[in-house]
Amino acid sequence: MRPLRDTDLWHFARLRPGMLFGLSVIILNVCLAAFGPAIAPFPTQAPAGASLVSPNGTHWFGTDVSGMDIFSRVMAAPRIDLTIALVSTVIAFACGVALGVISGYFAQGDRAGRIASTLIMRIADIVQAFPMFVFALALVGLSGPSTKNVIIALAFLNIPFFLRVTRGTVLQVRSRTFVEAAICAGNTSLRTAFVHVMPNALAPAMVHFSTTVGFSILLTAGLSFVGAGVPPPTPELGLMIQVGAQNMITGQWWTALFPGLCLAVTVLAFSLFGDNLRIFLDPTNRR
């Protein structure tokens, strides 16, 4: 393997502050998800001082209404938020790509294949007819607020996006000669679809991955904010903003400001990284 600083990606990223910013924040988040709760200076789910202390030398981000140290909780939050977002996005990616390959590959096949392909697309259409947040809210609300149900709901809602981008590429790749060669060599259609076509149609879904993780973090926080996500007192950004909301209106600005800032920066990082990755992988866009 070549050292990192010789790769094209590194040369590209060096000239793009947005990508570097995105990458560093993502790495920081991953580190915090791994070690955050362990290296946090105060307990993350128990009071660590007086209620509503403004930011000072001991409590860098102040304390919330029940006296919990906000800085420690922000450090511990990626373990919840990033895990939910990552796991749900991985599930959505796997299902979406698989369905996308099937619906794209069989779009011009025999009758049964065409029907399956159309059916998959129509179902995706219908799932996307529901306004996303309301649907997520209803899904989690009806199945009971818990980490697992948030993951399932987000995964389900994100499948159509992966499906669409994959299907589009599969339709293009499918008409290439190597696919014909694979069929002539005696591969079954499922094998051709998944072994020969799929690896060549993954790029758009992979680019979409990063943006979706960011977006899922935002949705997770939103769900928790209205009380339909993870239960309190879990150190989760949306919950922290919700707890801080009442205090924010009466002037204890630090309670919701810092968790929200972390949320915005994290989501922005994932979306910037995704955007730049797309530009990197699209040669017509490279300058």
Binding site: I126, A129, L137, G141
Partner: protein, 337 residues
Amino acid sequence: MRRFALFTGKRLLFTVPQLFAVSVIVFFMIRLLPGDPSYMLAGPYASPDRIREVRSTLGLDQPITSQYVRYVERIAHGDFGTSWRTSQPVLNDIRQRLPATLELVVGAVLLSVVIGIPLGVAVATSRGGVLERGVFFYGMLAGSLPDFWIGLLLILIFFYLLGWAPAPVGQLDFAVSSPDHITGAYVVDALLTGNGPAFWSACGQLVLPLATLVLVYMPLVLKTARSTTEEMLLSGFVVQARASGLSRWMQLRYALGNALPPVITVVGIEFWFLLGGAVLVETIFAWGGLGQYAVESVINSDYAPIQAVVLITAAFTTLVFLVVDILYYLLDPRISV
């Protein structure tokens, strides 16, 4: 004209199975998800008999197909069940709350269009300078700002620190009585009845939630307007127009004819997103609209309203996309069904 009628007719026909499928999903949502609602409704210490009783009042002991037929029948008669939290028919609850949400969502979409499109076009035509940099950075924020947090920040700054905005207590200040009911949207009602105090109070209350939504959701429109205009200004037919000596204004007109249709689609998407996204902003500003109703129902496991809200917002989305497609057709007749 005949072609237009044909297009609209076909597109309308397409909407019917969509609405049907939406109703199927909403119907099955409650039945396929883990957790039997009758256990939840009967409470944790209910006897098996009591649970069976709840099941039969909910109709859950019937075959699934006849349950579905009954469900569609009831909806066709405008019966969405009764909310056990407000003990009112869900339809009444929704009728009271929907206008408030629409006021917010439509207002935000309109403002995003009125500000976002001209700004995007302006940036596309005059490249370079502070404006372009500003718009570029602002556009990067598209989709990554937590709207509920921005709302809180605006309250902190404009209510607590500066004292310019009224307290976030809903659609009207406490001391003001609501205007006579016409549409349900207070600003419109107050204007129609000439109720001055209610109008100003409602407008004042509207500013911050509207500003939040516009601030968070405008970048998408702005970005699209900018990039499609830029692309069109560089394309062959505009170069040809320039070579023929047409004025800059004419060139822009040519470009916009082709640049705006994609923007319409994005506006539709924004509407779709806001119908759901406004939920959080409504909660912060105690807006009392459909979104807040949905949240309260979810927290209290009140099933009928949740189903109704999901169904109605989805039906609304379907309508919005219908309108978008028709507008798109009017702007770009090359499209066919």
